[in-house]
């Protein structure tokens, strides 16, 4: 690696790739740089480690997501006993291109941006790049994912100054861009179950009872006083299915069990704020209970019981991996409670009372991202007021 170094330094023939080289070098080897001023020792932790811990926390969701893509597909083509291995392989083949596109487009833009600004490549996209495949419906055409990722990385992140400077969660912006630009591809029957074969693997005809809508999608269009939710093969769904995740939905969001494993990893390592996580769930439960207390056939989702709100759709995934993004969330302790609680409330509010959107977690977080600085401002102003009063009191 050291032999290659001169080529990448100013004057070398590959000087245009200096940032890429530096990025790779600091990726492979811990920099030997020692502190010139300030403290003489530094903690072993750095942002790379923090980011990789989030990735590890995402792995259960990723692996289960792959299996579930296969499961839903084989259910839809009427081969429910295709076997776990083929289901996983199908899911792997279906999801891998999305992961490659997400990382390829996002990291490509990051590399170019870093080189333009002559900065070190930062690792923020490591997590975003994996979140995107997990929250984008599996049937989304790859070019749409690429366009949306590019838009989000450039306009939601790089224009604000890169990692740590963005106002909105980049992965959610990607999802929002897709959602609002290509609404027909993003909801209803077509989006959440991979109906084609993956690289020629697992092709087949849809069964007659097939419905590709997510449970929440079905709830939103429910008619009458009783809720019926069915799986892709027309069978009845229970809360248990939603907890384990064998339902239709975006790859990462279906299994509450896997999300909980991720949550435990994030909380034990201290990467994510327990205050945010807890209060998102509390907010969701509170609003869910309120809506459930006043059920109405006009708003079918109000008939869902509060616990079901947490298990269906992207609520749990959003609470654990999206709301806890430290950069775009509230940074004061009190602020985190308010921020999280309002996310929970608004997510369920949108689900229940806005029939246009069966899922509200994404919009709730993006909205609260915008309000996070305001919440912090209010919390900090109490500290300021306390200080002023102290000065006056003497």
């Amino acid at each position: 690696m050291d032999n290659l170094k001169p080529h990448f330094k100013p004057g070398g023939k590959l000087a245009k790739l200096e940032s890429v080289y530096d990025g790779m070098e600091s990726f492979l080897f811990t920099p030997n740089a020692t502190s010139a001023s300030g403290v003489h020792i530094h903690d072993g932790n750095d942002l790379k480690r923090t980011m990789i811990t989030v990735i590890v926390a995402l792995l259960p969701c990723l692996l289960f997501g792959m299996y579930n893509i296969g499961l839903q597909h084989f259910l839809a083509i009427g081969q429910p006993d295709a076997g776990v291995v083929s289901m996983f392989i199908f899911g792997l083949l279906a999801l891998l291109p999305v992961i490659v596109v997400s990382y390829g487009v996002g990291l490509g833009i990051e590399f170019i941006s870093a080189q333009i600004h002559h900065k070190e490549i930062q690792e923020g996209f490591l997590v975003t790049g994996l979140l995107i495949p997990l929250i984008v419906p599996i049937n989304t055409p790859l070019w749409m994912t690429a366009v949306a990722t590019a838009f989000a990385v450039i306009f939601a992140k790089e224009v604000f100054g890169g990692t740590g400077m963005n106002i909105f969660n980049v992965a959610l912006i990607t999802r929002a861009v897709l959602f609002f630009s290509y609404p027909s591809k993003m909801s209803g029957d077509a989006a959440f179950v991979k109906t084609d074969s993956a690289f020629g693997f697992g092709g087949g005809q849809m069964i007659d009872a097939y419905t590709g809508a997510t449970p929440l999608g079905q709830v939103a269009t429910n008619v009458g006083d009783t809720l019926t939710m069915t799986g892709v093969d027309g069978s009845q769904l229970s809360l248990c299915d939603a907890f384990w995740g064998t339902i239709a939905g975006s790859p990462g969001e279906t299994s509450v069990a896997c999300i909980l494993i991720g949550a435990i990893i994030l909380l034990v390592t201290g990467v994510a704020s327990w205050r945010v996580m807890l209060s998102v769930f509390a907010g969701g439960l509170a609003m869910g209970a309120l809506a459930h207390a006043l059920p109405s056939a006009t708003y079918p989702a109000s008939m869902l019981d509060p616990l079901a709100h947490l298990c269906y759709g992207g609520f749990a995934f959003a609470a654990v991996f999206m709301a806890t993004d430290p950069v775009t969330g509230a940074r004061t302790h009190t602020g985190q409670f308010i921020y999280g609680f309002l996310i929970g409330v608004i997510a369920v509010l949108i689900r229940v009372y806005n029939s246009g959107y069966p899922e509200g977690a994404m919009l709730a977080i993006l909205l609260m991202n915008a309000f996070a600085p305001l919440i912090d401002h209010c919390v900090v102003s109490f500290n300021i007021k306390r200080r002023l009063n102290r000065a006056k009191a003497k």
Binding site: S26, F27, L28, F29, T30, P31, N32, A33, T34, S35, S37, G38, V39, H40, I41, H42, D43, G44, N45, D46, L47, K48, R49, T50, I52, T53, E120, Q122, G124, G161, G162, T163, G164, M165, V268, T269, G270, V271, S273, P326, V327, R331, T332, H333, D376, V380, N383, I384, R386, R387, L388, R390, A391, K394
Partner: protein, 444 residues
């Protein structure tokens, strides 16, 4: 005696501490001693001596440009050997060749207390908040805070350093209480409490930075806008007491020579400003990646050369490896339980080694980033301050915000632990120092 319990902070346990039963080493007699003007932040030097001049211990070497009564004195009697200047003729050090005699400047004990304290040169050992500078004479402090322990990694016990002069602590309190209308607060570590007449004594429980006088002040009576408080340590308090009792300032100190790269960690008796080579005397374990000699502790100390000088507060030397592991392969993915971190992201935590003794070299172990992780600064700063918001206000130099968020209460040393723990590797102490300096220039 009030008790203060602090929960924020962390006690880093580095290798190379002095064993509690280690015998005190014989006094090191240096041929040369030096004073480094950078140690006395806020004093703009105007020289009182020229190269070749003869000085007694306690004679002024230089005084402040604005307040001439503020003076820095010679720790030994001898001849001014060299006045070393750096860029723009800034005085880097004043080196004095010792003559081995015991000639002392006699203090005028009949003069007003303030004048005698200024004359003694011990004035510059104190710090003032706001701005963390040598106190400005003429401003009566609201309170005076004395810390009786140093909680920094590997730091020596102040009671041990001041052992010989400990009986003068009461006199020191008596002197200082004449200079303030408020109280003289003295904060002890648990189990080290002393009775001091005239002082308000406190016991402070908790991890580093509990021993910082500024942290103690923030938890006893915070500094408000318009307030001035002084901070000092027990050793200086005892020296003041001794000077006012005997008319002579003692320049003898005890220095803890500590750190992983020190062969025999020990406490040595020496003169303030003596040569580091005499103190270390080959007591260093050679290291392939080099060693770093630090004047003071690993958090707030300054990097020194082997032929450098002992710097204020004249009681601690730490030597650690510069690079203990060159080109560490994918260190960020390390599962090695010996890669030390105070966070639960490494196997150090699973192996239960977070609170055990650890090796630590001078590598930064990561690149500088924007502030991303939550709470890291707040967890290391036991003050009622939103540290991250204050740092951001300082970076953008928003004077109103800085004031509102409590810039007057802090000193760079209070942020040292947060700088260690920072995932984004930002130089917090430098940011706070520059913020305080700019603020001071703006306000005067």
């Amino acid at each position: 005696m009030a008790t203060i319990k602090l929960h924020k902070g962390f006690d880093l346990k580095l290798k190379g501490s002095v064993a509690t039963d280690a015998p005190l080493q014989d006094r090191v007699d240096s041929k040369m001693c030096a004073i480094i003007p950078d140690d006395f932040h806020g004093v703009t030097p105007r020289l009182d001596v020229k190269e070749g001049a003869t000085v007694k211990a306690g004679d002024p070497l230089y005084h402040d440009k604005e307040y001439p009564a503020v003076r820095v004195t010679s720790p030994v009697s001898g001849t001014v050997k060299e006045i070393k200047r750096g860029e723009r003729r800034k005085i880097e050090s004043i080196v004095i060749e010792c003559d081995g005699e015991d000639k002392h400047h006699e203090l005028d004990l009949k003069a007003p207390v303030l004048d005698t304290l200024l004359e003694s040169g011990l004035w510059v050992m104190m710090r003032q908040r706001p701005y963390d500078v040598v106190p400005v004479p003429g401003i009566r402090p609201r309170d005076i805070f004395v810390t009786a322990f140093d909680s920094a990694p590997l730091a020596p016990s102040l009671i041990m350093v001041a052992e010989k002069q400990l009986s003068y602590a009461g006199k020191g309190v008596e002197v200082l209480s004449k200079l303030t209308d408020g109280a003289v607060h003295v904060c002890f570590a648990p189990g080290q409490e002393m009775e001091l007449k005239g002082a308000q004594c406190h016991t402070v429980h908790g991890p580093h930075p509990a021993g910082n006088a500024g942290i103690q002040a923030a938890n006893i009576a915070p500094v408000n806008k318009g307030d001035v408080v002084w901070t000092l340590d027990l050793v200086t308090l005892c020296r003041i007491g001794e000077a006012f009792s005997t008319g002579k300032v003692s320049y003898t100190t005890r220095v803890a020579v500590t750190g992983q790269s020190v062969e025999h960690p020990q406490v040595v008796e020496a003169t303030m400003g003596c040569g580091l080579a005499d103190l270390l005397n080959g007591n260093i374990v050679p290291n392939e990646g080099g060693n770093r000699i630090i004047n003071g502790n690993v958090l707030t100390g300054t990097k020194a050369e082997e032929n450098g000088w002992l710097r204020a507060p004249y009681r601690h030397i730490t030597v650690i490896p510069e690079i203990s592991k060159k080109d560490e392969f994918m260190g960020w993915a390390s599962l090695n339980p010996n890669r030390y971190s105070i966070y639960r992201l490494f196997t150090t935590w699973l192996a239960g080694k977070r609170h055990k003794e650890c090796d630590m070299d001078a590598r930064i172990k990561g690149g500088e980033r924007a502030i991303v992780c939550l709470d890291e600064y707040d967890k290391m700063l036991p003050m009622d301050i939103y540290a991250e918001f204050l740092i951001k206000a300082i970076i953008s130099f928003d004077i109103d915000k800085m004031e509102q968020l409590g810039i007057y209460e802090v000193a760079p040393e209070d942020f040292a632990l947060a700088e260690y723990a920072d995932t984004s590797k930002i130089e917090l102490q430098r940011i706070v120092r520059e913020g305080l300096d700019r603020m001071r220039a703006e306000m005067s």
